[in-house]
Every structure is written in structure tokens, then in C-alpha cells.
């Protein structure tokens, strides 16, 4: 993790740095959704952010891991600064200050250190996810005083300090502060533990009860940790945490996928965004609401659709909203004999893992191997020729299967294609826009294939093969653990991961139980001690 001037900024709080080497706890930059969630939690949903966030860095397929490696460019800092000022300006404006600031200054046109201190301590605890140190609070109050005196306005002074809090690395990064573990080694201290837990389960900073529990030392006890975990698992906010994981795991980017509008006229930006939401709603309903088996996300017939999506799926779904109003979400269940089953046949998989102008058995097979089964597929050689594959109107090779068979005749290509194409070809009944078809260029599509020795004849067969493949739940464990830790599990984590896999199976692959187990694991909070103590001010 590299930030220009970070060491100097951290010197104010005396925060020890932990090197982000593999296997060690990492200091992670908060993501866009986490930033929004924190601001809305602290200041309310009416506060607008302004500005934009730079793209994530994905490592090992997860932005949660990349967050530990990502740098903050000058342009990023400009945006953070702009957002901080916009947010601070709203919090202290006439409309909001009465609710947000717990005291009134003695005079609104002059500094009031007592009131400023009370406000900054209160919000600072929530923004930094720990109490401000005396030094930090003193510095921010002093800055507010100076600004208020210069501008003749208490609220402008406080706004400036609030903006500074929001621009600071203590807010923008999740601190990972270590302390000796009485059982040996080192562990995250109480507040860092609270953050680790809260970002995992709720994708947001710790709330007041969790911070208070940290302050009382309860998180260091098994009973105290269980109490907080159970409270958070029972909260509706758990959905946000689950959504955040699957959004990251599947690489959803808020509807950024585009398609050729001539070839796929039904596909649009709103379809792309809705497709992501459909998959997330399907998963949340099954895994959280129904407390179901993780593997059933590949075979379930139940989902949610909007009228726009229903047209792509070619099923009837009437809305009741007035003309011109946004589509509404409705539960939908495909018939037993419908070829669609599970998330692999949903638009967010079939269309997202295809180029703009066609479907792609190879990309779909690769995505399934890498995302669902955690298997590595080598990148193609730099000089591979895609002419034949892209020639979708080739009169000799009318279907993708035939074009790929011809492509694979090159032994350099065959080695990788044989591990992905037999999977992706089962999904060839879904074109590049996710719409069902049985023919390509007038020729019947053959959807037979195999996955790790299990043969199938269509997408439903593939779904069952994935459902029954032990690599799928093992991959879910590995991914969720990586997501929680902010790094890939190391060799020393192997016993823990094995325990998680065993427990996951024993629970009937209940995903919420897996989340609970991870949240209660010491491994989530254990850190490798730093090699040498870092002096404050680094």
C-alpha cells in the first residue's frame, strides 16, 4: 500500500503500519459502496456524495483483495477532497445542522471549541471507526477554531474540520492495528476487530453498539463476540454484506456491460443493471431469506424479473405501474421444463461473459472455472487468431461449436479450450444477449458437454453437474474467506479453510452459517506480528 505523505499523516495518530505481505493483515482502502454506506449511516440518506470513485483493483478475482494493494492517485485524492467538502457543507448547512450537530455554539459567528469538540469527537469515532486520540481531536478542533475565527462562522469552521476527517487516511483506509494475543502471536485490537467484522457482515463501518462493545473489551471474549455476531446476523443489514460479497465475486460493475444494439436490441444499460440485480435477488432470496443450500443457486427455477428482463427471457410478466414509470420487480418461477435453471442461465452470466456481438462458450466456460470452481485458466497466447471464432456468419461453420472445433485443431489452442469449451457449449442456447434460441444460422445447436468427467446434454445438465461438483462449495469457502481477510488464505490458514469446508458441508451448505463461522473465527482477526516495531510517524 503506497500513499504519498501517508506516513506523515499517520504520525498525527501514532498508528503503527502493518506491512501488507501475503498472509498478513492488510490495510484496505474502503470501496465506493462502503464509503456511501458509512456516510449514510453517520449522516443520513439525504446527504449527497458528489464526485466519483476510481475503479477497483481486482486481485485473485476480488476487489476486496485488491483494496489492500490499490494506490491513491492524485485524481483520486481530488475526488475524495471534493466529496469531503460537499458532504461537510451539507452536514453543517442550515437544513441539517440542527440534527447533525449535538450542540449550539455560544455565538454562530465565532469559534466554540467545546461544541466543536463534542461534534468532532462524536462523528470522528464513527468515521475513524475508533475514538479520536487526544492529539487528533485537538488538532481538528484547533483547525475548526482557526477557520471559524477567520471566516466569522462557527459552522464553516466545523465544516472544514469535518472535511479534513473525511479526507484522512484513517477514514479512507481500514486500519489494522495489532496487539499481543494472550494465546500467543498477535491479533487485531478491539476497534480493528470491530471494523473487520462490520465490513464483512454489513459492508459498512461499525455501528455504535459494536463500537461500544469494542470499548468495553467484549469483542475479546467469545461470549461478547458471539453476541455481536448474532446481533449483526439477525439484522436486515446482513443482506448488504451478502450482496457486497457476491457483487465482488461476480465482478458486477453496476451495469457497465454493453452489447451491439443491432444484434441485441433488447439489451441496454438498464438491462445490464437489472441483470445484476436479478442474480443478486435470486441469491439473497435463496441463501438469506430461505437460508438455503448454496449449491441450489445453480439449479433454482425461482428468481425475480422486471418487465424489461421478462422480454429477454421470453416469459409473460405484466406490471401495474403507470406508463412511463420504472419497471417493478416481481418474483417469477420458470416452469419445470423451461431450459433456464440457476444463475448460470441468467443474463448476468450468459450475456456478461460474452463479447458485444456474439456469445462465447470459451468465456463462459472460463468464467465458470475461475469464479465458480476457483480453477485457473491460462491466458491465451499473444498471437492467437480469433478470425474464425469471430466469423459468426461463416457458411461452413454455422455454429460456435463448429467454429471452436476448427479453432482447436491448432494444438497450441486445444489445451486450454478443452477445459472450458465443453462447459460453455452447454450454454449455447443462450445468445450473446442472454436470449434463448435453438438454432444458429439456421442450424440446430448441440448443447452437449462435460464437466470434470460428468456428461450432460444441455444447460440444465450443466447446472446439475456444477451443483454436484465438490469444487463449487470449496470455491465458495475460499472466496468468502479471501473476501473477509482481504487476502488469499495462506499456507498457515489451510487448517482453518479445511475446517470451514467441512463445516459448510455439514451444515447442508447453508451460506449464512458459513458467514457466521468465519465471523466467529480467530483466523479472521489473527495477524502476523510486524517484523520490527514501526515508530509512530514512520
Amino acid at each position: 500500500m503506497k500513499i504519498a505523505g501517508l506516513a506523515a499523516l499517520l504520525a498525527i495518530g501514532g498508528v503503527a503500519q502493518v506491512d501488507a505481505a501475503e498472509g498478513e493483515a492488510a490495510v484496505r482502502r474502503i470501496g465506493a459502496d462502503q464509503y456511501r454506506n458509512i456516510i449514510h449511516d453517520v449522516f443520513g440518506a439525504s446527504i449527497e456524495l458528489g464526485g466519483y470513485f476510481s475503479p477497483e483493483l481486482r486481485i485473485n478475482g476480488l476487489g476486496a483483495v485488491g483494496a489492500a494493494k490499490i494506490t491513491v492517485a492524485a485524481s483520486d485524492m481530488e475526488q475524495y477532497d471534493a466529496m469531503a467538502r460537499i458532504i461537510a457543507g451539507q452536514v453543517t448547512d442550515e437544513k441539517h445542522r440542527g440534527q447533525m450537530i449535538p450542540c449550539r455554539p455560544a455565538a454562530p459567528n465565532a469559534p466554540d471549541d467545546a461544541c466543536a469538540s463534542r461534534f468532532l469527537a462524536k462523528v470522528g469515532r464513527l468515521l475513524y471507526r475508533r475514538p479520536l486520540t487526544a492529539l487528533e481531536l485537538g488538532a481538528h478542533v484547533a483547525a475548526a477554531h482557526a477557520a471559524a475565527a477567520t471566516m466569522g462562522d462557527f459552522y464553516q469552521g466545523v465544516s472544514l474540520s469535518l472535511a479534513a476527517l473525511l479526507s484522512s487516511p484513517q477514514f479512507l483506509f481500514r486500519e489494522a492495528i495489532a496487539e499481543p494475543d494472550p494465546a500467543g502471536g498477535a491479533r487485531l485490537n478491539a476497534y480493528s476487530k470491530a471494523s473487520q467484522l462490520s465490513f464483512f457482515l454489513w459492508n459498512a463501518g461499525p455501528d455504535l453498539p459494536l463500537l461500544d462493545a469494542a470499548a468495553r473489551g467484549e469483542l475479546a471474549t467469545a461470549k461478547g463476540l458471539v453476541r455481536q455476531v448474532e446481533r449483526m446476523m439477525a439484522s436486515p443489514r446482513l443482506e448488504a454484506g451478502m450482496r457486497a460479497f457476491f457483487t465482488d465475486n461476480f465482478g458486477f460493475e453496476g451495469g457497465a456491460v454493453t452489447k451491439d444494439t443491432v444484434l441485441f436490441p433488447k439489451f441496454s444499460a438498464s438491462v445490464a443493471a437489472s441483470a445484476e440485480e436479478q442474480t443478486l435477488k435470486t441469491i439473497v432470496d435463496l441463501l438469506l431469506t430461505q437460508k438455503g443450500d448454496y449449491r441450489d443457486i445453480f439449479t433454482t427455477k425461482k428468481t425475480y424479473l422486471t418487465q424489461e428482463l421478462a422480454a429477454i427471457y421470453q416469459v409473460p410478466l405484466a406490471g401495474e405501474a403507470p406508463n412511463g414509470a420504472p419497471d417493478t420487480w416481481q418474483p417469477f418461477e420458470f416452469e419445470a421444463n423451461d431450459p433456464r435453471a440457476g444463475i448460470l442461465t441468467q443474463v448476468a452470466f450468459t450475456a456478461f461473459h460474452s463479447p458485444a456481438g456474439r456469445g462465447s462458450p470459451t468465456l463462459r466456460g472460463k468464467a465458470l472455472r475461475e469464479i465458480i470452481l476457483c480453477q485457473t485458466v491460462p491466458a491465451p497466447p499473444g498471437d492467437v487468431k480469433f478470425n474464425l471464432i469471430n466469423d459468426t456468419s461463416n457458411p461452413l461453420y454455422k455454429t460456435a461449436r463448429k467454429r471452436l472445433t476448427a479453432h482447436r485443431s491448432n494444438p497450441v489452442c486445444g489445451g486450454c479450450h478443452k477445459i472450458v469449451d465443453p462447459i460453455g457449449l452447454a450454454l449455447e442456447d443462450f445468445d450473446g444477449g442472454g436470449e434463448y434460441r435453438t438454432r444458429e444460422n439456421g442450424e440446430a445447436i448441440d448443447t452437449s458437454g462435460e464437466l470434470d468427467g460428468v456428461a450432460f446434454s444441455d444447460a440444465a445438465g450443466l447446472a446439475k453437474a456444477v451443483h454436484d461438483n465438490p469444487a463449487a462449495p470449496a470455491c465458495a469457502v475460499n472466496r468468502l474467506a479471501s473476501y473477509a481477510l482481504g487476502r488469499a488464505p495462506s499456507a498457515s490458514d489451510k487448517p482453518w479453510v479445511t475446517m470451514l469446508e467441512t463445516g459448510f458441508a455439514a451444515s447442508g451448505y447453508r451460506f449464512i452459517d458459513l458467514m457466521r463461522t468465519i465471523a466467529l473465527s480467530d483466523a479472521l482477526y489473527r495477524v502476523t506480528p510486524p517484523k520490527a516495531a514501526s515508530a509512530a510517524g514512520g
Partner: protein, 373 residues
């Protein structure tokens, strides 16, 4: 899944509600449902089909109208110069033209009162071909009958095509649609309820009796981001009986032929209140790509049509219809049915072209948890 379905609640309800002279139709085993994706007059313009020549563009025709009002050539020339030069007199032509009707010498709105304008004697069409049907039953013996360019039926009654066939704004073909109808469709499709068509029969892959139901939807036509109509969207049937019509037809070689007493579809009151025809005929072609291509012919009250043009006033006249009182006179001259007490025919034979794409059609009270068909 594609929408070719087993009997739907809607198709059965429709059939149950039909009152037919010939008695109730048996429950259908198969139905296909569509939504109208294009609608306009079916024109077959070709070279040399205007014996008197194609009528001049509006920019020229209005100058002739000025002459009919009594303005001299020099006066008209000056008005044109003033218009081109800008300045205070630039709108004089439009002021005069937009009030060119005369009653006792006083200016009158020519669009609302077209008979107060001197007939500009616009040219009418005289070609051999026009889409349509033998409405009057006389076949080839019909005076001035056309030949349908597709079916080659003779004695086709389509006096609307004759009346408008030499107006530039109404010339076109099925593949290059006339300006006016393109413009109208563009205005209407997003702002008026969609039209739904259901074809039901025992087996739509074979010749036999079928039922054709036309309804209005509660929804407007759903579109893709490029403006084209979205296939496989779902529409709820408007329960208003005024837009519910059921016809018996015959399916033969993939084409359904229908004859019925009439059609009446509520539209958009700002543009065209309703579409109605008597003695309606339809030819619906079920295509391999799941779409429908339809010709609808019949006798249409020409006043309905005229006032749907006239409602747009001077703006419509200059942008999309051409000389409106001229059109009024053409309609009056070529109207060929429903004489009033003076002998003036109130209806004109016409043929419209409708394209439709596959859609799901559900009754209004359909359950929220829909099942795939």
C-alpha cells in the same frame, strides 16, 4: 420460452365472450399473440402513377393558394422576398395562409372549415395498383378498381390511395413508408395504448378456421433503446369493450383472411380519437420470424381522417400533410360509401398496413406470480 402457447386464460375468455352470428367457436388449442409495431396507410407509389403530375411541395402550393385568394404575382413575389429577408413582414405568407378561408369576405380558419377555401384542385392518383380488398363485391367490374400488387386481385376498392396518391407527403411503399405516416407513427407509438392481436385456432401450422381478436392494451408500446418495438413484452388487455373486437377467419397457407362488420379502436384524442372502419377485411400473414404482416381494409369515415390531419393546423400542413383544404376536397370527391341525405359519401375505401411482433397478452386481473408458458 417463446409465446406459442396452449389455451390461455385470455384466449378462452375472449372466445367465451364473443357474440357471433354463426355461433360460438370451439375452444382453441393454439394461440399466438402480437403487438402492433407499425401502422400506416398501405401505399404503392410508382413512377407515372399521377397523370396530372405529383402535386407540388407545400412551399410552392401555398403560393398557388395565395393566387387563388386574389393576390397578384407581384404581390406574391414581394411576400416571398420579405419572408426570405426576415424582418417584420417575414410571416405575412403564413398569416394569410393560416386564415385563408373566407366567409363573407372575412378570414376563417381553413383547417376547421375547409369548405370556406377555394378548391385548389389537387391532382389525384391514377396508377394501376393499390393494396386492398374488393369491398363493394363487384370485383373486376368495379369502376376505377385497382389491382392488388401482392395478391393480384382485381376490383380493389382503395379510393384513399387515389385521393392521397399524388400528395408528396403520402407517397411511398411498404418498405419506404410515406412521410406523414412515418411521422404519425413516431408520435403515436409512445403515447397511445398498444394494439394487441391474438390469433387462435386448433393448429396454426395447418389450414383451418381461426379467431382473430384485436384489443387495446393498458400499456403503451414498449420500445428498445433504439426506439424499435420490443419483442416478447407483456401487455394487459384494456377491459374497455369499445376496443375489443373478435373476428372469425380462415387460415390458408400461412395467411388468415378475415371479413367483419367493422373495426373500432380507441386511439389518442390529441391526434386521432379513434380508428374505425366498416365492412372490414383483413389479410394477416404469419411469418416464420414470429411476426405478423397485415392489411386492413374497409370504409373509413373520411371526416375522422381529415380532422386528425387538421388538428395539427398550419404546423401539420407545412410539415407533414401538405394543402389540407385540398385534401378535404380530394376526400369529398373520392369518398365512395355511406351517402348522406345530400348524396355526399361520408366514407372512403382505404387500406392500412400493420406490422406486429410477438408479445404476451394477459388479462387485467392476471395473478402477480406468473408462470412461463
Amino acid at each position: 420460452m417463446p409465446f406459442v402457447s396452449k389455451p390461455t386464460f385470455r384466449s378462452l375468455a375472449v372466445l367465451a365472450g364473443v357474440v357471433l352470428a354463426c355461433g360460438a367457436h370451439a375452444a382453441a388449442a393454439e394461440s399466438r399473440t402480437y403487438v402492433r409495431s407499425w401502422f400506416g396507410q398501405a401505399m404503392y407509389s410508382e413512377e407515372n402513377d399521377c397523370p396530372g403530375g405529383v402535386n407540388p411541395p407545400w412551399s410552392e402550393q401555398r403560393l398557388k393558394d395565395l393566387a387563388d385568394l386574389g393576390y397578384s404575382g407581384a404581390e406574391i413575389e414581394q411576400m416571398v422576398k420579405d419572408e426570405l429577408a426576415g424582418g417584420n413582414n417575414r410571416g405575412r405568407i403564413n398569416q394569410i395562409i393560416s386564415m385563408r378561408g373566407r366567409v363573407n369576405g372575412e378570414p376563417v380558419n381553413p383547417y376547421s372549415f375547409p369548405a370556406t377555401v377555394v378548391d385548389p384542385k389537387l391532382h389525384a392518383g391514377g396508377g394501376r395498383y393499390a393494396y386492398g380488398f374488393n369491398l363493394d363485391g363487384r370485383g373486376a367490374a368495379t369502376k376505377n378498381g385497382f389491382e392488388d400488387p401482392e395478391t393480384h386481385d382485381k376490383g380493389v376498392n382503395n379510393e384513399l390511395a387515389r385521393a392521397l396518391g399524388c400528395m408528396r407527403e403520402f407517397r411511398g411503399t411498404l418498405t419506404s413508408s410515406p412521410l406523414y405516416w412515418d411521422w404519425t407513427w413516431g408520435q403515436l407509438k409512445d403515447n397511445e395504448p398498444a394494439w394487441l392481436i391474438t390469433i387462435a385456432g386448433d393448429d396454426l401450422g395447418k389450414d383451418g378456421d381461426v379467431t382473430v381478436t384485436i384489443d387495446r392494451a393498458l400499456e403503451h408500446l414498449k420500445a428498445n433503446t433504439d426506439g424499435s418495438a420490443r419483442r416478447d413484452a407483456t401487455y394487459r388487455v384494456d377491459p374497455d369493450p369499445r376496443s375489443h373486437q373478435v373476428y372469425r377467419g380462415q387460415l390458408k397457407n400461412g395467411v388468415v383472411n378475415v371479413a367483419g362488420p367493422g373495426i373500432r379502436m380507441l386511439q389518442d384524442p390529441l391526434v386521432a380519437m379513434e380508428f374505425r372502419m366498416q365492412n372490414v377485411r383483413m389479410r394477416l400473414k404469419l411469418k416464420d420470424d414470429r411476426t405478423l404482416e397485415t392489411m386492413i381494409g374497409g370504409y373509413q369515415p373520411w371526416a375522422d381522417l381529415y380532422y386528425s390531419f387538421a388538428g395539427g393546423g398550419a404546423g401539420n400542413e407545412s410539415a407533414s400533410t401538405g394543402d389540407m383544404p385540398g385534401i378535404f376536397y380530394l376526400f369529398r370527391k373520392f369518398a365512395d360509401a355511406d351517402p348522406d341525405e345530400t348524396g355526399q359519401n361520408a366514407s372512403i375505401s382505404a387500406t392500412y398496413y400493420l406490422q406486429a411482433i410477438p408479445a404476451f397478452v394477459v388479462p387485467v386481473a392476471a395473478p402477480k406470480m406468473a408462470k412461463g408458458q
